[in-house]
């Protein structure tokens, strides 16, 4: 069965496992939302999931295409707005986890969602921050889910949209309240950040991925522990939930 498991399914399950029961999570589009719903339907039934547009505890139906798609906010318990979710929860300091995607992420966990620079230095704009910078600034810990590619994990991001540990400085030195980037979950591995140097460290590799592959596909030096565990695979039940209930059309989980 292992061979059949798609990397995005490992990512979703790993993301879900980072969440503890009764935590409050702000979720972004795509895999973050899939991971949070998976956690809620397995080990964390008391999880509170928030969407920045003003949704609490959604129970997505069919597969939503974005935050503004009513499939994602189906059967929620609250519909309010930015001021409530991002102001009275995130800025209030009660959000445990912010779950983000990234175009680029660097060794200090800084996130770029604004633009890409081509080799010619020509700039290609993308979506910008939306709630990303707010979440990165204010959530107690930030979990990023993204593809593992050398160009997406550069030494320094082309645009620092959402701060992790800028220049390796601590969050309090940066004047930021939240705990910063805590985990980066990719299709190859899970990264964490050294509590002293605030630079990225390898925490586990997914089954079938070698450390060399990870290093080769990472644009910055990774601290690598001597004993490197394998990432836990999704359980049968997790796979069933992902495939049959949460993303039956395989929009986010690949196919």
């Amino acid at each position: 069965m292992t061979a059949e498991i798609h990397a995005t399914e490992i990512m979703a399950a790993a993301g879900a496992r980072e969440l503890r029961d009764n935590e409050v999570v702000v979720v972004g589009l795509g895999l973050p939302q899939v991971a949070a719903v998976l956690a809620k339907r397995t080990h964390a039934p008391g999880l509170t999931t928030l969407l920045e547009i003003g949704v609490m505890n959604m129970n997505p139906k069919d597969t939503p295409v974005g935050l503004a798609d009513s499939r994602i906010f189906y059967h929620a318990t609250t519909w309010s707005g930015f001021l409530d979710v991002m102001g009275m929860n995130l800025h209030r300091g009660i959000v445990d986890v912010g779950f983000l995607g990234a175009l680029e992420l660097d060794r200090f966990g800084n996130i770029n969602t604004t633009l890409l620079k081509e080799k010619s230095q020509k700039v290609r704009y993308v979506n910008g921050s939306a709630g990303g910078n707010d979440v990165a600034s204010l959530a107690k810990r930030v979990i990023v889910i993204m593809r593992h590619e050398k160009r997406k994990l550069p030494a320094a991001v082309a645009h620092l949209t959402s701060p992790g540990f800028v220049n390796g400085r601590s969050r309090s030195e940066l004047g930021l309240r939240g705990g910063g980037t805590h985990r980066v979950i990719t299709n190859m591995a899970i990264l964490g950040f050294d509590p002293e140097t605030h630079s990225a460290a390898l925490l586990s590799v997914h089954p079938g991925v070698s450390v060399e592959e990870v290093v080769e596909n990472t644009g910055f030096a990774l601290r690598i522990p001597k004993q490197l565990p394998l990432t836990q695979l999704p359980s049968k039940e997790e796979l069933r939930l992902l495939r049959e209930e949460i993303d039956p059309k395989h929009i986010y989980l690949g196919s």
């Binding site: 949704v55 009513s70 906010f73 519909w79 800025h91 979506n127 921050s129 910078n133 600034s137 701060p163």
Partner: protein
């Protein structure tokens, strides 16, 4: 009781070039497309647009060349693609874009809505988002400050008070009392910050309906200058409880918006080629097609 219903053409004629317009949509939901099309037909110029998370509304207006200045928190068309026209305008420099975040835009509107000239915030700090704002023309809207009580460093944001805000709602009476179904993003703060407020409603109801659940009145009549009644007024974006986004039309739009020439074709066919929103609705498929997008009562989409 005042009857404030107006046609979109009447209202848009009162918007001067150079106005600061706040748009009430979010990505592909509740975009005031009926207003956007009319602004393009009447060829307004030099507009400033503000919005939390910009979607099709802003992309259309920027693509059609009406906009010189953006104040936004981000934006996309969700899985359908990026705001190609907005991004192209940023890349070519044809638009000055002040790029904030969802919460900072919301706080700027909140300050405006509360009659405060500034609002403190703890995001944006230590980011290039702030660095770019502070080193550009947005510098005059930002200051650093230490809280006199805690010593904590804050960013102060200047209030935003748009000249006019357009908010698309599901339910309004003729005086302007509005209910919004589903999430409301920054609609309330944006609407109440604006100097003029125009609402576009899917459904006109008698005031007695409003009085049955006054807790649901997010925008009260006395703040509203005019009510535009336009069913399917947000097409091809979604209106919760009324109709779903039109995936086919959004794909067609994104396909055109990747290229300035093809974008012009889109505008020519669907906007300038339609005398009004009813004609546009016929052009995109007409009654039978639109009925297919109607929300299923139980699901809301």
């Amino acid at each position: 009781m005042a009857n404030k219903t107006k046609t979109v053409a009447e209202i848009v004629r009162t918007i001067p070039d150079g106005s600061h317009i706040a748009m009430g949509g979010f990505a592909i939901a509740r975009n005031a497309i009926v207003v956007v099309h009319e602004l393009i037909r009447q060829q307004k110029t030099n507009l400033t647009l503000s919005q939390g998370v910009a979607g099709l509304d802003v992309d259309l207006l920027v693509g059609a060349g009406l906009v010189s200045h953006l104040i936004i928190g981000g934006g996309s068309l969700d899985r359908f693609g990026p705001n190609n026209c907005v991004n192209r305008a940023r890349e070519t420099g044809s638009v000055v874009s002040h790029d904030y975040t969802s919460l900072s835009i919301c706080f700027r509107y909140l300050a405006g809505a509360l009659g405060l000239s500034f609002m403190p915030i703890k995001s944006l700090l230590a980011s290039e988002v702030l660095e770019r704002l502070e080193t550009g023309t947005a510098a005059e809207d930002l200051r650093r400050m230490k809280c006199p009580f805690t010593g904590e460093e804050y960013l102060l944001l200047r209030s935003l008070t748009p000249d006019v805000s357009f908010v698309h709602v599901q339910v309004a009476d003729r005086e302007g009392n509005c209910q919004i179904n589903g999430p409301r993003w920054e609609n309330e703060e944006q609407a109440k910050a604006a100097k003029r407020l125009i609402v576009i409603t899917e459904e006109l109801v008698p005031t007695e309906y409003i009085q049955r659940s006054p807790e649901r009145t997010v925008i009260p009549a006395h703040r509203v200058e005019a009510v535009i009644h336009q069913p399917f007024g947000a097409h091809p974006t979604a209106v919760y409880g009324c109709y779903d986004y039109d995936a086919d039309h959004l794909k067609l739009y994104v396909d055109h918006s990747r290229n300035p020439e093809r974008f012009k074709e889109y505008i020519g066919t669907y906007v300038l080629g339609s005398g009004d929103h009813w004609e546009y609705l016929e052009k995109v498929g007409g009654l039978a097609y639109l009925e297919d997008l109607r929300a299923e009562r139980l699901l809301g989409y």
